[in-house]
């Protein structure tokens, strides 16, 4: 299984940038938590997570990804089954029923599910590659995507739902869809819109309303509000009451103040006032980008953003050089996952997107998010290390 490991093809620049980003993350977590007595040791814990993550990364990289195709079907079945189990026996934490109790420890199947979904869809789309131009096979792929999607949606975990949707969509498109089918699917999606609107959870709508442009007092601008009223029977208070809107958007507003406060060059590491004086909330996880922007300024934040997008770019490069369709789709899925999280998280910080609760890859504090990102990079490296070489043997 570990035969013919060729470290020459290991993507060292990718790895080094990931390591750099993780180290920057530790420094920022230190800055974000040093004034909170409960959190002061978080940067050390993050170092431990990185060490574990690196082990995972190298282990996954060494595994030949093609072995994973064997896992695809059983893994997918287990995944869907666990989502169903969560639906019936799951435990709620933070408003969404997404955890399952396995002998005393709470497990969130959706985190690992990202990869199971990537692996399964990549396998399916590459295995039936030649048949994809026929509608039934395409619809099959969509069904495999929609099944877990719907189960996550009802938990409800909006962030994970759209992550799955994006990854799955990119994978299916990257596998190749005939334009005429694409048009058909687009039409179908439009028709399904009322269903989506009808099932949209109140809190998702509330988040949307927090994001929507308001006047000084927190009233959503009338034309937009009228549109919302037309689309939904009941609107959450955040959409109607200006006070509720202002109160709910506190975290985002403070993040925006932190970013604007940073200016071009930033206030310096551990010197951001919004961050250090705790005005910025959830600053070591969801809003760590605001810490970057406040303390390192526009220049620092742009550089870090560049590094993050470099990672995506590099993984896409691996996809294009992959020895086979399965590898290509695996890497594309990984790129889509990382890219989506960056866009959604940074977009939320900059208030160009609603709040979703997705963390910033490699930088935000958190064991599961960091290790799963390292796992993703490991997958990409696994593809990289086997590129083309196969053709010469």
């Amino acid at each position: 299984m570990f035969a013919r490991i060729n470290w020459r093809y290991f993507d060292w620049p990718l790895f080094l940038v990931v390591l750099l980003l993780s180290s920057i993350g530790v420094a920022l977590i230190y800055s974000a938590t040093r004034n909170s007595p409960d959190l002061v040791d978080y940067w050390q814990r993050q170092v431990n997570f990185i060490l574990i993550g690196l082990v995972v990364l190298f282990f996954v990289a060494m595994v030949d990804y093609r072995q994973l195709s064997l896992l695809a079907i059983p893994a997918f079945l287990i995944f869907v089954a666990s989502l169903v189990a969560v639906y019936f026996f799951g435990e709620a934490q933070g408003g969404s029923r997404s955890w399952i109790n396995l002998g005393g420890t709470l497990v969130q199947p959706t985190e690992a599910g990202k990869f199971l979904l990537i692996i399964f869809l990549s396998w399916y789309l590459s295995w039936f590659r030649d048949s994809l131009h026929r509608l039934p096979y395409l619809l099959m792929a969509l069904l495999f995507l929609l099944a877990p999607l719907a189960l996550v949606y009802v938990q409800p975990d909006f962030g994970m739902t759209i992550t799955y949707a994006f990854m799955g969509g990119v994978l299916i498109l990257a596998a190749g869809v005939r334009y005429r089918h694409l048009a058909l699917l687009g039409g179908g999606a439009l028709l399904a819109l009322p269903l989506f609107a009808a099932t949209l959870q109140g809190y998702m709508l509330a988040r949307l309303c927090i994001f929507l442009p308001t006047d000084e007092e927190g009233h959503i601008l009338p034309p937009i509000l009228n549109l919302l009223r037309a689309a939904f029977d009941t609107l959450p208070t955040e959409c109607i009451q200006p006070e509720a809107n202002t109160a709910a958007s506190y975290n985002v507003d403070q993040a925006l103040i932190a970013i604007g406060n940073g200016g071009l060059t930033g206030l310096g590491w551990t010197q951001g006032t919004q961050n250090q004086l705790l005005f910025l909330r959830v600053r070591h996880t969801d809003f760590i980008f605001s810490v970057i922007a406040e303390e390192l300024g526009m220049i620092g934040a742009s550089l870090i953003l560049l590094l993050l997008l470099f990672v995506v770019w590099r993984v896409l490069r691996i996809a294009e050089r992959a020895p086979d369709q399965f590898g290509k789709l695996l890497a594309t899925g990984v790129a889509a996952l990382i890219f989506f999280q960056i866009v959604v998280n940074v977009g939320m910080n900059l208030k160009i997107m609603p709040v979703t609760g997705l963390t910033l890859p490699f930088i935000s504090y958190g064991g599961s998010s960091l290790i799963s990102m390292m796992f993703a990079i490991g997958l990409a490296e696994s593809v990289a290390m086997r590129h083309r070489k196969i053709e010469f043997f």
């Binding site: 190749g176 005939r178 604007g260 940073g262 071009l264 004086l277 742009s302």
Partner: protein
């Protein structure tokens, strides 16, 4: 590597779009960051600063006030306030449900402050907590602690206050107030303090909440020494205005108090950030509020989201102490004036009295007494019960009647008529008018029926005396009314008098009908009566009788003692109307003169020196001839000129539907005396007024005499031949 497909699909395009997406996302985000961090940087910086910075003003020391000799009249005395810092109090530990650690600590603090043993402390504390919490919260908190409250028997109005302690703009409610004269038991106070602390903690837990004030220096030190036992206690020094001479100068100096709710906007616009700041509310404290206040220093306290002080930034601006005021008022003269007036008022049992002195050569106010007075120190720490007593006093001692009372001037007005007659050529110094008893003006509607004619008498007629022929000088000396009736209104077919136009013109020229402009608040004036004014007000035309009354300072003419003083000074100095000035100059904290008040001439009267000399001569004869009415005002070694006034007034009694009259049917009199001295080169002009005092010559003139005598023996002695300040 892969064989070309025959059907076009999205595979290659997706990869291209993905890469394009990466670039576009990067660009969008950088542009957005540019917008937030560069374009709108200042706005967000301001918002971030507003989050974290609390502007703290350090008040500058308020200016000191000195009299003309450099004696300190007002200074700042430290007073001490005891406050609690909520975050330094222990929390109520939930593991020990039967003990409230916070209440135990508060009780300890209150015992150290002697709230349990000293009823004064308990009362003071209850008053502060009542003001802080407001009616409803106070009652609720005490009752919840199962402490009985005694209520006042009479209901009173309370104006609800808003959360930040300002008066709410709603209708007052009628409720039974708790009797704050009954000391609350300790448990009640503990509950109240706990409540106040809880409210403060919602704002900033590191800001001290005052729970006791007016603590003297020794107690403050004792409490500070105990502070290791009670870490939450802060002893804060607050400067308090000390008026050393109390009621002697309270009408001049005024007092201070918190910014009134009605004026809050004005002060806010003027840059006052703390609306609990004490500002001058009356007297010089009010007029020179800006100069006395100086400018506060500014520093910033950086706070985190919990309101905990992290550090202090600054002082960004150092406080600039207020300017000191140096008055024209001489404390010794003021004392003499007050004592002399008070003595006479006690003697004749008069409710109000005023005496004001001024240098006629420049308008410098040398002394100003309005009785009754009040002790302005009662406002120093907190406007409380004593203030209510003052407000309810029927004599209204808070009003400075020297500038705030309007009275008929009576005969002290006759110089105006005399000067007008001479200047307008109606009379010459030799024009003779004969007093041969009362004169009668025919009734306008029945000109031939003399029984319906209006009778005008001179004061001397009731003693059976007629003065016979006289010129203007002698008319002033005798204060003969007939002369001035005819000079003012003429006599049908015999003499062309001044008439209403000229009378009102000269009344205005002498400064009646406009405020004198003295640098004190609360000055009033009446308007000068004219034909149009009377038609508008009474729908009746001006009559010759109106002119008669006006010519002797009765009828519709009303003036303040200060206006009479300005008139007197103008006669003394030969025709210059000065703006009276209480403040001579202002200095900064280093003693450098910041502002010197030049004499301010309002106008010069259009009258020749010769004519004015005739009027002055009349005033000289009042005092210095054996037929003058003001002979009691003579001062050895100094030539005094003066004028008596005995002004009838109507105190309307609704039950009688008439004015108050004595048994003979005569109206009561105000006593007036206006004077200046020395005659040749006057350096002091003075007006004394006693409400309902009776004869000016018997009541007001002796007071003036005492003051002048003291002035020329103690303050500006003649023996050295010294001429006081020009």
């Amino acid at each position: 590597m892969f064989e070309e497909r025959t059907v076009r699909d999205t595979a290659n395009l997706t990869m291209t779009l993905f890469r394009a997406g990466i670039v576009i996302v990067f660009l969008i985000m950088v542009v957005r960051m540019f917008q937030l961090q560069v374009v709108e940087n200042e706005r967000y910086q301001a918002l971030a600063n507003r989050n974290r910075l609390l502007r703290i003003e350090t008040p500058a020391p308020r200016g000191i006030i000195y009299d003309s000799n450099g004696t300190i009249l007002v200074r700042n005395r430290p007073s001490f306030e005891v406050a609690l810092v909520p975050e330094d109090l222990p929390f109520d530990d939930l593991d020990t449900p039967d003990v409230d650690e916070e209440a135990v600590e508060i009780e300890k603090v209150l015992r150290i402050l002697r709230a349990d043993s000293d009823p004064e402390v308990a009362l003071r504390m209850a008053a502060i907590l009542f003001n802080k919490l407001g009616y409803d919260d106070f009652i609720r908190t005490v009752q919840r602690a199962n402490v009985p409250i005694s209520f006042l028997s009479e209901p009173a109005f309370v104006t609800p206050v808003t959360e930040d302690g300002r008066l709410a703009m709603v209708e007052p409610r009628k409720v039974y107030l708790p009797d704050l004269d009954q000391p609350l038991p300790l448990e009640g106070l503990v509950a109240l303090v706990k409540r106040v602390v809880a409210i403060q903690s919602m704002g900033s837990a590191s800001d001290p909440v005052p729970i006791l004030d007016g603590v003297d220096r020794i107690r403050a030190f004792e409490i500070s020494e105990d502070s290791f036992r009670i870490p939450a206690v802060r002893v804060i020094q607050v400067p308090v205005r000390e008026y050393i001479y109390g009621d002697l100068l309270s009408h001049v100096l005024g007092f201070m108090g918190p910014i009134p709710a009605l004026a809050a906007d004005t002060y806010r616009e003027a840059g006052y950030t703390n609306l609990n700041e004490k500002v001058g509310l009356n007297g010089l404290e009010y007029t020179y509020q800006t100069e006395l206040r100086g400018s506060p220093g500014v520093r910033y306290s950086e706070r985190n989201i919990l309101g905990v002080d992290v550090r202090t930034i600054g002082p960004v601006v150092e406080p600039v102490p207020g300017w000191n005021l140096h008055l024209n008022i001489d404390l010794r003269l003021q004392q003499v004036m007050r004592d002399a007036l008070q003595e006479m008022m006690d003697e004749v049992d008069a409710p109000w009295g005023v005496t004001v002195a001024m240098n006629p050569q420049n308008g410098a106010v040398l002394g100003m007494v309005s009785l009754p007075s009040y002790d302005n120190n009662i406002f120093a720490e907190r406007i409380g019960e004593d203030y209510l007593k003052l407000e309810q006093d029927e004599r209204r001692p808070l009003i400075n009647y020297a500038i705030g009372g309007l009275y008929p001037p009576g005969s002290v007005f006759k110089m105006v008529t005399a000067a007008a007659g001479l200047a307008e050529g109606i009379i010459t110094p030799n024009t003779t008018i004969v007093d041969s008893g009362p004169i009668y003006l025919p009734n306008r509607y029945f000109p031939d029926d003399m029984s319906q004619a209006q009778e005008f008498v001179s004061w001397n007629h009731k003693y059976g005396i007629v003065h016979g022929p006289m010129n203007v000088v002698r008319a002033l000396a005798l204060s003969n009314d007939i002369y001035f009736y005819i000079l003012g209104g003429g006599f049908p077919n015999q003499f062309q008098g001044l008439g209403p136009q000229l009378l009102s013109k000269w009344t205005e020229l002498f400064g009646f009908g406009e405020i004198t402009g003295v640098d004190l608040p609360g000055e009033v004036t009446s308007i000068v009566p004219t034909d149009q004014w009377k038609r508008r007000l009474f729908a009746e035309p001006w009559t010759t009788g109106d002119s008669y009354n006006m010519a002797i300072g009765q009828g519709y003419v009303l003036s303040t003692p200060m206006q009479v003083l300005v008139e007197t000074a103008a006669i003394a100095n030969g025709g210059t109307i000065y703006v009276p000035k209480i403040v001579h100059h202002m200095t900064d904290a280093e003693g450098g003169v910041q502002k010197d008040f030049e004499p301010e001439i309002k106008r010069t009267l259009p009258i020749s020196a010769e004519d004015m000399e005739v009027v002055r001569r009349g005033m000289w004869e009042v005092v210095n001839t054996d037929y003058g009415t003001g002979r009691v005002a003579r001062v050895p070694g100094v030539e005094v000129a003066g004028k008596t006034g005995t002004a009838e007034f109507c105190e309307y009694i609704p039950e009688k539907r008439d004015c108050r009259r004595d048994e003979k049917g005569f109206l009561p009199f105000h006593a007036w005396f206006s004077a200046f001295a020395p005659y040749d080169n006057p350096e002091i002009a003075i007006v004394t007024f006693v409400y309902d005092g009776g004869e000016g010559s018997a009541v007001a003139a002796p007071v003036t005499q005492k003051i002048l005598e003291a002035y020329f023996t103690e303050i500006s002695p003649r023996t050295q031949g010294a001429i006081a300040q020009p």
